[in-house]
């Protein structure tokens, strides 16, 4: 007799199996879609793989995409550890970009790089923080659902940014091109190895490490984790829950804001339409695929970046729409759900299994 039985305890190495299951499901789904379109899945995946790892130049683009994804992923992680949903990383990213661009274009256009770049980084963090504190304060003061407020504020931020570069901030010498003037040279983040990888990437990695220590070693992080796991225990222990909502949302906004700075000062060198392309939403996927572990975030961000670059390659090589990357992204997440559900069960051969206390993985 074979039957499926619920595990009594989450098995060791559950995380490992979950990831394997998630990847298998995602790639099977993708393969199925390719097959339906009459494309050999191996050819398609081969093209994607070659497009990503074929040359340093293409792989460097993965790291370029992974930079904002790491920042927004970390932003969602901080909030997620406290069981807050920051769906608003997109809007906070936009405000980070606005603040960084404003600092470089209007406040200190003539400052040297070693002054201007730190200023732009701080400004972007402040911009993101302020924007994230709106839903934070509404949550702390009135218990307003942050999922919806953060989400709605994304639209407001994007509309305001568009207003800026279509209107008052538009480049007077831009022949009507929607965007600001180019940022002064001093505000451009240094690039490495002849590629578009820029200072934002090591900065993002640094933030991941700092966040890991903050969440796992500090008293603040301990309190945040307790609030996320068991709010009643936090009240019992006398933690200031509302205060933590504000600091967590503020920090989350700062991280997302820096993603905006990285894009504006590292890639576009101006404020323009390409800034809000959904990195904020992808950050949610990154965070949960990383299972809210800050150190795993850069790796997942690179994986997702590879999917995006691979998708673009698929378009150039095989003429398939690049949005296959979105499908694979979603399939990864659904795979994660399936994996999480599946590791809670085990297959039992014969007997009742109720007496054996060991339980296998």
């Amino acid at each position: 007799m074979i039957r499926i039985e619920k595990q009594r305890q989450t098995p060791k190495r559950a995380t490992f199996y979950t990831i394997i299951i998630a990847a298998c499901i995602a790639f099977s789904v993708g393969g199925l879609i390719f097959a339906c379109l009459g494309v050999n899945p191996l050819t398609a995946y081969g093209a994607m793989f070659k497009g990503v790892f074929g040359s340093f130049n293409s792989f460097s683009e993965v790291l370029v995409k992974a930079t904002p994804l790491t920042f927004t992923g970390l932003a969602v992680v901080v909030a997620g550890v406290m069981m807050l949903w920051n769906i608003g990383a997109e809007g906070q990213l936009v405000w980070g970009g606005i603040f960084a661009a404003g600092t470089a274009l209007f406040l200190f256009p003539t400052a040297p790089a070693f002054v201007l770049i730190p200023l732009a980084i701080v400004a972007s963090a402040v911009g993101g923080t302020l924007w994230a504190l709106i839903p934070g304060a509404l949550k702390a003061r009135f218990q307003v659902n942050e999922i919806l407020t953060t989400l709605l504020l994304n639209y407001v931020a994007i509309i305001y940014m568009e207003h800026l570069f279509y209107g008052p901030w538009r480049d007077p010498a831009g022949y009507g091109f929607p965007g600001t003037a180019q940022l002064p040279e001093a505000a451009h983040l240094v690039r490495f190895l002849g590629s578009r990888i820029h200072l934002g990437f090591p900065l993002a990695l640094f933030c991941a490490v700092v966040l890991y220590f903050l969440l796992n070693k500090s008293i603040w992080g301990y309190q945040v984790r307790v609030i996320g796991q068991e709010q009643r225990a936090a009240h019992y222990a006398g933690f200031n829950v509302n205060g933590k909502i504000l600091t967590v949302m503020g920090l989350s906004g700062a991280l997302a804001g820096m993603a905006g700075m990285a894009e504006v000062c590292g890639i576009h060198y101006r404020l323009q339409t390409g800034l809000a392309v959904g990195y904020g939403y992808d950050g949610i996927i990154v965070a949960w695929l990383a299972m809210l572990n800050p150190l795993a975030v850069p790796f997942v961000a690179i994986l997702l970046g590879a999917l995006f670059v691979g998708g673009e390659q698929l378009q150039t090589v095989l003429g398939l729409p690049s949005t296959i990357a979105l499908i694979l992204e979603a399939a990864l997440l659904f795979g994660l759900f399936s994996g999480q559900a599946m590791v809670q069960y085990k297959i039992v051969f014969g007997g009742s299994g109720a007496q054996d206390g060991k339980g296998d993985d």
Binding site: T149, L153, I285, T323, A331, F337
Partner: protein
């Protein structure tokens, strides 16, 4: 002046129909206790399916039926993961939106720029001759007339029938409903499916009537507006009608100011209004606990687990 009002009114209704359908659907889903943030994805999938079916069959009825049904079927992914596997509803809804967007844009690529069936506005005899009101409300696409019927119908079913009682009970207190002999997982699945049908219908309206044709990401965030609208109207379909009208009215005003080159209110302020207003309503609804208690389904977003 009167012409302006009629112009604005007509466009207001035109631009609110999709949001209205999607909102009604999400109200049913949330009244049953499930949050589905996948509305945007379901709308896009429905829009593509409706358009594709119309192109193949050249029959508007087939097109509408296909778009609606595909929206519903797509929503069953959410049902499977949130109800059978008890996955996180917020994440699962997001994944559904990403999947729907990716799938629709991927599969719809060959259809961009092709002409399919169109569903054109139809005048209702006599009613459309009523000055102002008739001209605004009855010079519309058949979809709008469908909405005029579906809004009160859904309201009636939710609040005046046994079906509605069961549905609301499941959203308020799943454990008690279960003890009363209600099949909670089935009821919730049907609520999600209904939400999907409505989202699919909303998408079909976009690709067959509002802006006929298939364009990438053509719902342009209307699915998210619908989710916010559900709170704006405190889970009540009748209020959803006015909420959607308000949203449509603000959109129409933008067109009007653009057309007349007036800028007494900057267009970006008008564009932000629906979002800002929704946040304001959200705060008011949440802050007044009495209102909230009466409005929000108490078990919204909480998975139902009966240990066996």
């Amino acid at each position: 002046m009167i012409d302006d009002i009629i112009f604005i009114g007509q466009i207001a209704i035109k631009s609110s129909v999709a949001v209205l359908f999607a909102t009604i659907g999400e109200i049913v889903t949330e009244r049953g206790g499930v949050l589905n943030l996948g509305v945007e994805g379901m709308m896009l999938v429905g829009a593509l399916a409706g358009f594709a079916a119309g192109t193949v069959s050249q029959n508007p009825f087939v097109a509408v039926a296909a778009g609606t049904l595909v929206g519903g079927l797509f929503s069953l992914i959410h049902a499977f993961f949130t109800i059978a596997l008890r996955s996180n509803q917020v994440l699962c809804g997001l994944a559904l939106t990403i999947l729907g967007t990716g799938l629709a844009n991927f599969l719809g690529r060959p259809l961009i720029g092709t002409a399919g069936v169109r569903i054109r506005p139809v005048d209702i005899p006599y009613l459309s001759d009523v000055p102002i009101v008739g001209e605004i409300f009855f010079h519309q696409s058949p979809f709008a007339y469908g909405a005029y019927i579906l809004v009160p119908l859904v309201w009636y079913i939710l609040f005046k029938t046994r079906t509605g009682l069961v549905l609301r009970a499941v959203g308020e207190d799943a454990a008690s409903s279960d003890a009363a002999g209600v099949n909670v997982p089935l009821t919730r699945t049907l609520c999600i499916f209904t939400g999907g049908l409505f989202a699919g219908l909303a998408g079909t309206y976009l690709s067959l009537s509002y802006t006929p044709g298939w364009k990438e990401s053509m719902s342009g965030g209307q699915g998210w507006i619908a989710i916010a609208m559900v709170i704006f109207c405190t889970w009540n379909p009748l209020r959803a009608f006015w909420g959607a009208m308000l949203f449509g009215g603000l959109t129409a005003l933008q067109f009007f100011f653009q057309a007349t080159s007036m800028d007494s209110i900057p267009s970006y302020v008008l564009k932000m209004m629906p979002y800002l207003l929704t946040i304001a309503v959200l705060v008011v609804v949440t802050a007044s606990s009495k209102y909230r208690k009466a409005a929000s389904p108490a078990d919204l977003g909480i998975p139902f687990i009966r240990e066996r």
